[in-house]
Each structure stands twice: as C-alpha cells, then as structure tokens.
C-alpha cells in the first residue's frame, strides 16, 4: 500500500523538516527508505527534540524553523560524510540570514523563482468520495483541501522564500466544443476532470497576482502536437491545434508551453518527439505568435515500451539546433529513474561514480558536449536536486556539478516539483548550503558553488527566460498583499507543516 509521506510521518510521530526518504511525484514507484536515510531521520528527531528543549520552544516550532532544517542538514552530513551542506553547529540554535548578491550587485535575499510548482484542483481525486472507496474502510481525509490552491499558496509563499512561481502543467487536453458546436468554457473544457488544465493554470495565476497586487505567478500551457488528432487519417488535427494554440496564447496568456512527449491524451496510441515533423510545425506556428519558450518533461518515465522511451532527451539536440531562437527548458535535468527500479535504482540507472554520469542525464550532457554552440538548452532541477540531495549527496554533487560545468551556471534553472515535496523551503535551505567537495572539483573540474551561482540558479536565469524584471519585481514585493499576509501569518505564529505530499510505501 502506498501512502503520502506526510501521513506516514504523522502516524510514526515524525516531523523532520526534510523528507527522510525520496517521495514519489507519481512519475516513479516510490523507493524504500534506506538505512542511511533512517539514520538521518533518527538523528534529526533526537537532536531536534533536545535542541527545542534547550532553547525552550516546542519541537513542532523548532522543526518548522530554519534551525530545524540546519539540524537535519547536520544530520545528513554526519551520516553521509563529505559535508555536502555548509552548515554551522551554531545554526541549530540561532537562525542565520543568508545574504547574497541581487541582480544589481547589491546585497539582499535571493530572488527565487520556482519554475516547477504544481497543485491539484481536486477534481481528479473524486474517487475518494465514491461508494467503492467509502466501503473499503480507508481513512479518507479531505485531500481536495490538503492539496488545493489554498495549501499551494500557503506552502509556496507563506512557508517559503519563493518570490514567484511558474504553475507548471501536467499532461492533459481540453475539449473545445459541445456537441451543438458551442465553445466550451473553463471547467466545461475538462469534463472528466484534470489535474492542472491550461484554463485552470491561467485562472490561478491571475488570481494569485490579483491577491498579491504584483506579479507572483506565471503559468504554462499544456497544448502539445498530439492533443488534437484526426483518427480517420491518423494525422494531427492542425485546425483544432491552432484554435487551441490561439486560445492558450491570446486568452490564457500562457508564459511557456509544457510538453510531455511520452503521454497520449488524445488516445492516438503514441506520443511524439520534440524533433519530429508535427512538433516542428507546432514550433513554427508558436514562433509566428511570439511564444518561444518550451518547457519539456524529460527523464522520469514509465515502463511502457510504446511510450516510455519518448521521455529520453535525445530529441532535444536536433530541435535546439534547428530553432536557435527558442529556449528549451529540460525538466528534471532528464533524470531517468524508471518506473520499475527499486533499491538498486543507481545500478538500474547506470550511475558511474567514477564519471558521475547516469541515465538519461548523460544524454542531456552529451548533447552540449557534442554541440558547444548550443546556447538555448536549460537543465531544470525539480525532483533532481531535492531527490539526489536526500538519496545520495555525492551523486547530487555530480549532477549539479555536471549541469553547471556543461551548460553553465547561467543555464541551470530552479524548480522543485512542490507540493509533492511539501513546502519548498527545505530544498531552498539545502541549496543555499549545498557545496561540491574539493576532491570532486579537482578530479572532475567542477566549480565550487558560489552565492553568485546560487543567485542565478535560484531565479535570475528563470527571470531572463520569462522576461521578468527582477529589480522591479523585488521592489514590488514588500508592499504587495502577499508579503503583508505573510507578515501577519508569521506574527500570529504560523508554522510550516513539514507535510510531504509525495508517495512512499506504508511500512
């Protein structure tokens, strides 16, 4: 039985501020907790409990603080060795504000843009209320609420330092017309339910920005070359595709496309590739309409021999070379982690500790090695940095080191895949302190991660891709309503829940 990590933790009385095993975002089978992850969990709980007593606050408040996160990172260093996280013993008792360079070179907080933020509108979870589910004796909490927009807003903005989010799409198409030809609107366009259809992402972005009174959210559009299909000719339905393209660009005003090549919402029996003819036609039509940002899921895939291989990033090479005016953001940095790997996942994914390579990340790296002139491909690190950081910090050093060495610090983009991982703050704190060892830097030519590099990865790179004026956006933040709500929330003792929404196996 699979349950959410947060539910498992609560049943066991655990409230660590960092998930102590990899949680699944439903793109791979959850892996068992390793012995070392259990050690990190035990140490964090022991030290956190003692530290909280020492400074006279509740354990819950302690674990929700930056001191709690520092304790968990110290526990990770202790268990794994190698000091992957630069964290001082004193940080267990005294929060330390991390200062960094702003875009204009002045000191200030990092400007964080999370380009991979998801939530569910709950429609897809209706099974919980079905008679079948009720008769099975499951303890059904209201997950629509738990994973809703409100939770999303709280965990992304009130419980973390994230300044802006890109609401990131998931596979799914919209129905366009009723049987009588009437144009469908909003929820009518996804009559069977959908997790994050384009219309909803746009609506949520607008709502967030209206609440805030400043630009806090951007959104993606899900339309892809295999969404509207002429089954009679087994070819793309170009008229329907263009109608939807115009709708998503002009009406929804999406900020990027989000493609999943290995999915098949139109039931064509196949997926597509970024470098195939239909995708190139789509790119050319999008170019005419002025949208030239492609966010593409690569990596995490399933076992289907028909579809699974289409998540391999090999198709990015030709597409990037052929379309130098487009930018291609490669989600998960193409970390493969297939659907069937378990405890031996590193072997299954051909991790080579001598070279630091692993599937399909190596394919993404090789594209740039073969084509140093490529300047329009950006590895994104959602469910990449956070997954590797808690699974194997040395592998994480390789993954991040290779991304930066190969594509450049100005081409690596921050994303988290939250809310699967709960509030993104633990990942933010981990990356603020994450460092590559001297040994690996010397052996592999990796550069040390400086605050200047962190600033780029955390937000400055995404700002360029999305056309965000960081200084203007940063100046607007203190006065906006979301900042004021956050201040009031913290003043009233608001605490991060440390609830991780992703899946793990029930022990």
């Amino acid at each position: 039985m699979w349950i959410r990590k947060g539910d498992l933790d609560r049943a066991k009385g655990i409230d660590t501020p960092i998930p102590t095993q990899v949680v699944s975002n439903e793109e791979f089978i959850p892996r068992p907790q390793t012995r070392k992850q259990k050690q990190v969990e035990d140490l964090t709980m022991e030290w956190g409990t003692n530290n909280a007593k020492k400074i006279g606050i509740s354990r819950r408040a302690y674990m929700a603080s930056s001191m709690g996160i520092a304790t968990a990172l110290l526990a990770s260093n202790c268990v794994y060795g190698g000091n992957a996280f630069e964290v001082g013993e004193d940080e267990q008792f005294e929060p330390r504000e991390k200062e960094v360079v702003k875009a204009n070179g002045q000191k200030g907080k990092f400007f964080i843009i999370d380009v991979q933020a998801h939530y569910s509108n709950g429609i897809a979870l209706n099974f919980r209320n079905s008679e079948t589910a009720k008769n099975m004796g499951f303890d059904l909490k209201n997950d629509t609420e738990a994973y809703s927009f409100r939770t999303f807003t709280k965990e992304m903005f009130l419980d973390s330092e994230t300044a802006m989010v890109v609401i990131s799409g998931v596979p799914g198409k919209e129905e366009q017309r009723a049987p009588d030809g009437r144009e469908l609107v909003d929820a009518e366009r996804t009559p069977r339910g959908a997790i994050l259809p384009s219309w909803l992402m746009a609506k949520s972005r607008n709502e967030l920005n209206q609440i805030a009174g400043s630009q806090r959210a951007l959104c993606q559009g899900n339309l892809a070359p295999n969404h509207y299909w002429n089954t009679a000719t087994n070819t793309i339905d170009k008229a329907a595709t263009l109608e939807q393209m115009d709708r998503e660009i002009n009406q929804y005003k999406i900020n990027s496309w989000k493609w999943y090549c290995h999915t098949d919402p139109a039931r064509t029996g196949n997926g597509f590739q970024v470098d195939d003819d239909n995708a190139q036609w789509f790119i050319e039509e999008s170019r005419k309409r002025g949208l030239k940002l492609m966010s593409v899921h690569k990596g995490y895939s399933y076992q289907s021999r028909t579809l699974g291989h289409l998540a391999n990033p090999k198709d990015i090479e030709k597409a990037a070379l052929r379309n130098p005016d487009f930018n291609f953001v490669i989600y998960h940095s193409a970390l493969k982690h297939g659907a069937t790997d378990g405890e031996n996942w590193k072997e299954m994914n051909e991790y080579n500790p001598e070279t630091g390579d692993f599937l399909w990340h190596k394919i993404l790296m090789d594209i740039k090695r073969r084509n140093p002139q490529i300047n329009n491909v950006y590895p994104e690190i959602g469910s990449f940095f956070n997954t590797l950081a808690i699974q194997d910090p040395v592998m994480c050093m390789h993954g991040m080191g290779l991304n930066i060495k190969t594509y450049g610090a100005d081409h690596v983009v921050w994303g988290t895949d939250c809310l699967w991982w709960g509030s993104p703050q633990w990942g933010i704190d981990a990356f603020k302190r994450f460092q590559i060892s001297d040994e690996l830097c010397e052996k592999h030519g990796y550069a040390k991660i400086t605050d200047e590099v962190r600033a780029k990865i955390f937000g400055l790179n995404a700002a360029k891709l999305y056309g965000v004026d960081v200084n203007a956006a940063r100046n607007a933040l203190p006065a906006d309503a979301l900042s004021q709500i956050k201040e009031a929330y913290l003043d009233r003792g608001g605490l991060r829940d440390n609830y991780f929404h992703g899946w793990v196996q029930q022990a």
Partner: protein
C-alpha cells in the same frame, strides 16, 4: 525459470486503449507469472488491491506518469483478466522459446 518476455502491451486492444491502458498493459507485463496465477476472480475489490500491493490508500493503482486518468479497481480487474487470457494463449509458445 526465467520469466518469458510477455507483450500484452503489443496485443490488439480489447477496449478503447487509453494512455493509462497502455501503461497498465506494460505494468502487467512486468508481473511475474507465478503471481498472476494466484489471482482469484472471486477476490473482493479490497482483497484485489491488497493482492496487487501497489494501490494507494486513496484507492487507485500507483501507475507512474498517468496523470490524466486514475486506474481504479474496476479497470484494473478488466485488464488483469484480459492479461490472463493473453498469457494462457501464449504461455506455451513463449516458454518453449525461453
């Protein structure tokens, strides 16, 4: 004995094949034959979910990447029973090749 190379996924669809259906076929192709043979059609839905052991506490099969459709127990049972028919048909020849 090694597991034959099942290919239920490559069989002609027995019902309109969705993305979830394709992946469910692939999922069943990875299921050991010995386990499949222990399936009892008289199992209740709850027993079936426990038998598989890859359902979530929310009542759907944990099938990676199928975000547009949940595989609930009714769909799972239909595909499982079709897969059993497929395996009964090809088992002999595939075993002989293995």
């Amino acid at each position: 004995m090694s597991e034959p190379s099942w290919n239920f996924e490559g069989e002609p669809p027995f019902e309109l094949r969705t993305e979830a259906g394709i992946n469910l076929c692939a999922y069943l192709d990875a299921m050991p034959d010995a386990k499949l043979k222990t399936y009892d059609p008289k199992m209740s839905d709850e027993q079936l979910m426990r038998w598989d052991d890859n359902f979530t506490d929310e009542g759907h099969l944990f099938l990676p990447c199928c975000e547009s459709e949940e595989v609930e127990v009714d769909m799972y049972r239909r595909y499982l029973e079709a897969c059993i028919v497929y395996r009964n048909r090809v088992r002999g020849s595939l075993m002989a090749e293995a």
